[in-house]
């Protein structure tokens, strides 16, 4: 198994990079979408609340694979075409946004009311309050959930293989058709994902310990 991986280390590494690009893209895009959706969800404006709620419920109650196929195969009917990689990032961003929105909402709601009052008492405008006071504290409260969501996104990015995105899983599947050493390849592939998950989890844990020490 090891010599097989070493013999094809270049392909695996380029697959790994694409997997990271998808996961990071979907986390960043999803976070923007998620924060916005969470703010809408807590807004006093009814239609905004409805819009964000519909998006969250629709995405969370349907499979990511179908969302991906809809983006990749369905949108071209309207002349909107994506490369497999582009479609994968877009679909996972939309998917992630709905899950992240709920995480961010929990984070926003975890900030004590007194913090908002203290900001109001010094006359801080709403946007500054959100950026300076609320979001940093919300992030601190939810970073374990964000870590978990990041790991889930890395794992889920493997569905990109089903539309031909050459990420880590697709690299392995291609290699399988060339070598037929199925068990070794899939075992190695699994371990790579396990390794990535473990690295993310431990990096996050270390950061958490540092933050904890800093603020308490």
């Amino acid at each position: 198994m090891i010599e097989l991986v070493i013999a094809h280390i270049g392909e695996f590494f380029s697959g790994f990079k694409i997997t990271l690009v998808i996961a990071l893209g979907a986390m960043l895009g999803g976070s923007l979408l998620g924060v916005l959706t969470a703010i809408f969800r807590l807004s006093r404006v009814g239609p905004l609340r409805m819009l964000s709620l519909s998006y969250i419920e629709l995405i969370r109650n349907t499979p990511g694979l179908v969302q991906l196929l809809l983006v990749y195969l369905g949108l071209p009917e309207f002349g909107i075409r994506f490369s497999p990689l582009g479609a994968t990032i877009l679909a996972l961003t939309i998917n992630n946004g709905a899950y992240l929105a709920e995480i961010f909402r929990a984070g926003l709601q975890s900030v004590p009311k007194g913090q908002l009052e203290a900001a109001a008492a010094i006359g801080l405008p709403r946007t500054a309050t959100l950026i300076e006071v609320v979001l940093p504290q919300a992030l601190l409260a939810i970073y374990p959930s964000l870590t978990n969501q990041f790991i889930q996104t890395v794992l889920f990015s493997s569905i990109g293989a089903l539309i031909g995105t050459v990420e880590l899983t697709q690299v392995a599947l291609i290699l399988n058709t060339q070598t037929y050493r199925t068990i070794e390849i899939l075992a190695a592939l699994s371990l790579m994902y396990v390794g990535i998950s473990a690295v993310i989890a431990s990096a996050s844990h270390r950061l958490g310990v540092r933050l904890e020490r800093r603020y308490h």
Binding site: L58, N61, T62, L65, V66, S158, T169, V194, S197
Partner: protein
């Protein structure tokens, strides 16, 4: 159109059956693993935890392929339905075992100690005292996981199993209208999952209202 809807509904039926089967399989597996870890002590954990971590740390898609392709390499080719059932059960088992274990360990230690102190067996303490208290935590979390499972069955598409997502692909190949087909398929999944989501919220609120639920996992 009518033909296609009928075809999708047949796929839906397979999706539901596979979800229920895998939930049952994963439930049995998850329960066993959780009890082994809680009762078995550190040497069992030493063996079982890495297995759980590997399943939770790698993609379901890869696991499904490993079961399906692996079984044929090893010479006992599983059919797509069996492979999907096995793969999803293993995956669900790992996640459910963590849900159940987390719930069991969330019950205060004093409960176990009190049970042991009056001479009950360890097995009975877990079964008769700890588990009932863990139940309000397990139920909503496991229901939530079932929703994930329904969505996850769509990955069995890759094995060629004729569930809902595969049925959609067949129709798309024939009608060349992916947009409408996938929108309809999304709505079918939504119709399956959304009521369950609402139910989870209701159950969760009720349990919390009764003061039974401890901190969510």
């Amino acid at each position: 159109m009518g033909l296609e809807i009928a075809y999708l509904l047949r796929g839906t039926q397979v999706t539901i059956e596979l979800s229920l089967l895998a939930f049952a399989g994963g439930g049995v597996l998850g329960f066993t693993v959780a009890l082994l870890r809680v009762l078995g002590g550190s040497d069992v954990t030493l063996v079982v935890k890495p297995l759980v971590d590997v399943v939770r740390g790698s993609p379901l898609l890869v696991q499904l392929l490993a079961v399906y392709l692996g079984s044929s390499v090893l010479g006992f080719s599983l059919n797509p339905l069996t492979a999907a059932f096995v793969g999803l059960s293993i995956n669900a088992g790992a996640y459910l075992s963590e849900i159940i274990r987390g719930a069991l360990t969330s019950v205060p230690k004093g409960q176990t100690e009190a049970g042991l102190a009056i001479g009950l067996s360890r097995m009975y303490v877990v079964w008769g005292i700890v588990l009932p208290q863990a139940f309000p935590v397990i139920v909503p979390a496991a229901m939530g996981f079932f929703i994930s499972l329904v969505k996850d069955t769509s990955l069995a598409y890759v094995l060629g199993l004729l569930e809902l997502t595969r049925a959609a692909k067949d129709i798309v190949d024939r009608t060349l209208d992916p947009f409408h087909t996938y929108v309809i398929v999304m709505l079918i999944y939504f119709a399956l999952c959304y009521p369950l989501s609402v139910l989870v919220r209701v159950v969760d609120r009720q349990l919390q209202h009764k003061g039974l639920a401890r901190e969510r996992l």
